[in-house]
Subunit: 757 residues, 2 copies
């Protein structure tokens, strides 16, 4: 519509009287170049930062602070405090946006850039579970619907650039950000990441990118001790064959407009100053051509934390030279404003011009110069509409993984008051959604904790709730015996344990052990939670364990052997409490699969299914850590029905130029209820020039089958997909390849076929 108006305006005016940058008929690239040529040095530097925290809590707006900041940092706009309501924020954001367009010399609009993990940045949107949970669905079509919802709600608040998706591999379980990631597998992460970016960056009816994406954090996920900003060792083969893999796929298949460099020092060079990884590897080898931005304080930390810059000026220059073009700086002072004094340095000037050109192109492709500001009317019809809530419910249902079931589940529908249930454990009354979700876990504006969902379904009178212990306090075990009594009286116990990852302002913030700024040496349940579970299991009362948290937990043998059923619900969306109830009572058949391998012990790390062959130790070794057979392995998850995999076949096909592998398998629902299964295809080349994983996922497909129904799944894999990186070269060798087809990464769930390719 805006485009139509602009075109009409053009018709009434001589083309040469309108600057190219204001003319939508020109390409984004040309418009950006034209605008760049009109900008002062200070205006250029201004684009390389922005105002990230427009509003404080309770909608506070500090005009003086804003103006001081905006003088040298005026490219991007962020909303600040998550707990403000989107509908309250919009008018103020629009006021600032308008002012920027109309009261600055060239009228260069802000582009609004925010985090967007579960939902839009502020309260008021549809709340999905975060990435790890959605990855557990292994359902890409459903995921695309979910991202479409989040995208449209972002557009409705005027956010046209998000700081997602996070493509880091969840291979360090001690870290606090596992729940933000898509799991441990590079293929799975790449597929979900590609789906995210392609969905977010879809073009609107005017041909503008709806929401530009930022893939992050290049590279992160295996920091020392799991600490957020800590270093990692990685050599280049490790990085290219593991951490970079999802980035390579997403860059090549979805063209994300920006990328965030991580906080980490990689091989002792902080990523914000890592020219080798950002230029030689990311730009030249991988082919990324968008904006590279800093993680929030990362440029400043070159000076203050890593100690590789001896001044703020040096930090700014090092980051610019490494390839960074945008500084996200919620904390002040920012570093890039130091560049304003360097207008006479031709190297700096050239790099700044490159950076601003890329930044302006994003503004043009997203229609920031052309489309009208978002309206309250559209916001109200978009946020939390019925379609959106329905998709969120479905996403939550598929994000839950059933890990054990002795037949206790599904429960019979409650018929009389005599079917009482004891709910125990401190996680039952929280709706824990991760450290980027604008909701309150103790009193959610949207959604209900599991306890309330169960009470609403079977009646509060039928539920005996007792917390038993605090989440993190280890000094008070006095409630355990009462919890045991409650379990005994009810005859069926549901124990809800896990960890808390929420915003700092959340009602449960004091119980956090997980989330962006946390690392947890212990991988068990925090505090005395395991003690409650043990005590209840000691009674012999049938017990269901529901785990909550954006991480894997150690499941002790005595828990696995004695619990009647075990579910992992990861981090919640607003419908997760209800989805859990639906699964418990069988109206929803669980279909999630583990996107991470659960650690057998706090010290048993790293643990993941795609270890290198030598990582189990030599042939005469006696490893205590059995990497090959962890108790709950990637890709594993149960259903209320059973599936049979049969007539698996793998063969080669080729035309004149390409060789492909065709793999197929027939999956049958051999049980008695409708269910979904995830067929998984793994491979390994028998011998490779450098060490490659014992097996790795190459395809997965989720299917729904009625009882007795069967379907054949066909996969085509180009032989080029079967290679690996050696010293920055992609190598595809011929040789024997083994393919495994089945329902999880566990050997016992897979059939193997070896062929020559």
């Amino acid at each position: 519509m805006a485009l139509a108006i602009a075109s009409q305006a053009l018709g009434n005016t001589a083309n040469n009287s309108i600057p190219i940058y204001q003319n939508p008929s020109h390409s984004a690239k040309d418009r950006a170049a034209d605008l760049l040529s009109r900008m002062t040095w200070v205006q250029k530097i201004g684009q390389m930062g922005g105002v990230r925290r427009l509003l404080g809590s309770d909608m506070s707006f500090n005009q003086t602070s804003y103006e001081i900041l905006a003088e040298y940092q005026n490219g991007i706009l962020g909303f600040g405090e998550n707990y403000n309501l989107a509908s309250d924020v919009l008018p103020i954001a629009n006021m600032v946006r308008e002012e920027q367009i109309h009261s600055t010399p060239l009228g260069i609009p802000y582009i609004t850039v925010t985090d967007s993990v579960n939902s839009i940045y502020n309260l008021g949107g549809t709340l999905f579970p975060p990435s790890l949970s959605l990855a557990a669905s292994f359902n890409l079509p459903l995921y695309k619907l979910a991202v479409g919802v989040i995208r449209d709600e972002n557009v409705a608040v005027g956010t046209r650039w998000v700081l997602s998706p996070e493509l880091d591999l969840a291979k360090e379980p001690h870290g606090g950000r596992v729940g933000e990631m898509f799991g441990e597998d590079k293929y799975l992460v790449g597929e979900f990441g590609t789906a995210y970016v392609n969905t977010m960056q879809q073009l609107d009816s005017n041909g503008y990118v709806k929401v530009a994406c930022t893939v992050k954090h290049f590279v992160f996920g295996q920091s020392s001790g799991g600490i957020n900003a800590a270093s990692q060792y990685g050599g280049i083969n490790h990085i290219m064959n593991e951490q970079a893999v999802p980035f390579i796929k997403v860059v090549r298949n979805a063209n994300p407009y920006s990328l965030m460099a991580s906080y980490s020092a990689v091989d002792r060079v902080p990523m914000a100053a890592n020219k080798f990884l950002l230029q030689t590897v990311l730009r030249n080898t991988i082919g990324f051509n968008g904006v590279i931005m800093s993680d929030a304080g990362a440029i400043s930390e070159l000076h203050s934390l890593h100690l590789v810059s001896n001044s703020a000026e040096d930090a700014a220059v090092k980051a610019l030279k490494a390839g960074l073009g945008l500084e996200l700086s919620p904390g002040q002072p920012a570093m890039f404003p130091n560049l304003v004094t360097m207008a006479n340095d031709s190297t700096i000037v050239s790099l700044v011009n490159d950076a601003v050109q890329r930044l302006l192109e994003i503004k043009f492709v997203t229609g920031t110069f052309d489309e009208p500001l978002p309206t309250m009317e559209n916001l109200k019809s978009t946020l939390r509409n019925e379609t959106h809530l329905d998709i969120a419910r479905k996403a939550s249902e598929e994000a839950i993984v059933l890990l054990k079931n002795d037949g206790t589940l599904p429960l019979s529908p409650p018929t009389t008051n005599s079917s009482r249930i004891a709910v125990l454990g401190p996680l039952a009354e929280l709706l824990v959604m991760g450290s980027y979700a604008p909701n309150n876990s103790t009193e959610p504006l949207h959604g209900k904790p599991f306890l309330q969902s169960l009470q609403d379904f079977i009646g509060a009178d039928n539920v005996d709730y007792f917390q038993g212990v605090d989440i993190t306090d280890i000094s008070d075990s006095s409630g355990i015996s009462a919890a045991v009594s409650v379990a005994r009286q009810a005859g069926l116990a549901i124990v809800c344990l896990g960890s808390v990852s929420v915003l700092a302002e959340d009602g449960a913030a004091n119980w956090r052990t997980d989330g962006e700024f946390f690392a947890h040496p212990s991988l068990g349940f925090p505090g005395l939670q395991q003690d409650v579970l043990d005590a209840v299991l000691d009674t012999g009362v049938p017990t269901l364990l529901i785990m909550t948290g954006g991480q894997g937990f150690v499941l002790q043998n005595s828990t696995v052997n004695r619990a009647s059923a075990i579910l992992h619900s990861f981090l919640a969306g607003e419908s997760t409490g209800e989805a859990l109830v639906d699964i418990l009572y069988g109206s929803v058949n669980p279909s999630g699969k583990l996107p991470i391998t659960l650690p057998p012990d706090s010290g048993s790390t790293p643990i993941y299914y795609d270890y290198l062959p030598s990582d189990v130790g030599s042939y005469w070794s006696l490893p205590v850590l059995d990497r090959a057979n962890p108790p709950f392995k990637f890709g594993y998850g149960l259903s209320y029905t059973t599936f049979d995999f049969s007539t698996a076949e793998v063969r080669i096909t080729s035309d004149n130029t390409n060789v492909s592998v065709l793999a197929s398998v027939t999956v049958s629902n051999t049980g008695s209820v409708l269910g979904k299964e995830v067929a998984q295809l793994y491979f390994r080349q028998q011998y490779t020039a450098i060490e490659t994983p014992n097996k790795q996922l190459i395809r997965f497909t989720k299917i729904e089958l009625a009882p007795g129904e069967k379907t054949m799944i066909n996969w085509t894999i180009a032989s080029d997909e079967l290679g690996y990186w050696q010293n920055l070269e992609w190598v595809v060798d011929s040789g024997n390849f083994t393919f495994w087809i089945g329902s999880s990464s566990r050997d016992e769930d897979l059939e193997s076929i070896t062929i020559a390719v």
Copy 2:
């Protein structure tokens, strides 16, 4: 003497009638080249392997197996089973040695190559504690005496080449080989390694190297999950600034004749095939010019484990091309014999010639061609003589670290029968010496466990021993209450806990959780040992904790707060039991310092004092793992006296070509007994081009002071020592440097001085 005879023989013969290689007046290099020119292809290949297991248990010798092996593997000789007595082995070894000299075409003698960690390879030598324990002494002069003993005893059995020292950094506490290493610090490891090699490789009176050394394992120590043969990620800055540092120092300052490549795949390239690290880095950058050998099965594992070679032949070729020249292959088949079919490949021929030249040079420099075989007479006068045993006792005394003392220690000498002591815990009756010590921990041929040492000192009637629990069994806690009763009755308890690292044939082998082929996810005491300790501490009876094992253990807060005293004795030498008693009763004042930081938790890894600045997390991070302040940090250890550090000074000096830092401090014994203290100097450059450790050790000096005595310590550090490696270049920047002087790596034990260099 042999040299004199040879020279005399030369006098009676025309020089040109004796082949150069038989003429000791020529250089080792020329003799090797001459011999090489006379050798057949098969003879050359034969030198690149050997017979590692001459004898089985009970002195069994299989002539047929020996001959089959020796056909293509006849360069080196090893003794096989450790538990055979050296005096029994010598005649058979000499028989085989003689036969090789007299019955093969060129009479090329074997060189005897064995492990030598605590002592000579076989039973019968003086038994020292292994490396971690000796490093805890921080006493280099004493260490050189100890190595001199082990060297002379090796010469006495004819071993002229050892598979030591191990220069790996003990930075992965889950691994089983920490006890074999010199600790976590690269400087400390380099100093001990240099002392080892310079002492071992001393020249004998004939000018021959007494015992050639093998530095190992290049590179190892941070394998995934602590598993022996597992991979590591390391980039080149990490390797050069950390793992390679001791190798660089020892290669440049002590010229070891050989080096062992590790089992690990580094950045996905197994070290046995890692041409980049062995050629570009080790040979060209570091300057190592000796023999590179495989770890035992490492060449074979290229094919069988890492899957980077598709055949045994390919494995042999890859290893040779990477730079390996000797295959240590206790398990058969070996890979290098496959080279016998490749005499027509000029590249292979050239590499084999290079390798054999280096191997022969070691034989010439060690006098293998010239000196007589070892005699039984010399063996008997050398092994376990009084001087040797005295040095071993002193070494054990200084290898024990006192970590806490509330004043309970030293104990008063026993005067009456009423001073009873309860000894509890399963480690009291074992003498655990590590997985390379030829002794039996349950019935040691030499040395006494702590329990027996205490009984001998205060009378068996005064000691109430109760094991309490097994070492690894977690099913039986029934003995704990009896242990508690024994403690209560005695009124003083000594609880002996730890882990077992012994040879596979040892009486305690079933209790092993530590040693070469083990990894331990848990860093606590194995089994239910902590439960015994907790139960005894609960009683309030004064309790001393003695830890045993080649590793750090988690010391829980409740242990540290309640134990009266805590000692770590690491792995034992034959005198460790008695040394512990001497320390308990004050006839020896403890003076050891921690060569490793103790882990606060099983999941709190990596943990070491010289972390990178960013490894604590960013300025707004809330790390749960507090790397800066672990409870027991590198360099820490208590004494029965007190020391004062005063008037610390650091200044610059320069002559025309060099700049040096002069550091000094005055240390006073301010207590009432004679004692030893380790003065430690650490440094950090304020800003560096890549991230460097928060601080690192650069000097240490151990001194003995009488009460009231003081001494000034002066250190000179060339400015060139203050650099770091960046992309294979050694960088020395000017700038501000902070130096810390004190008694441990803890901030509270250090005084800091910052100067410009």
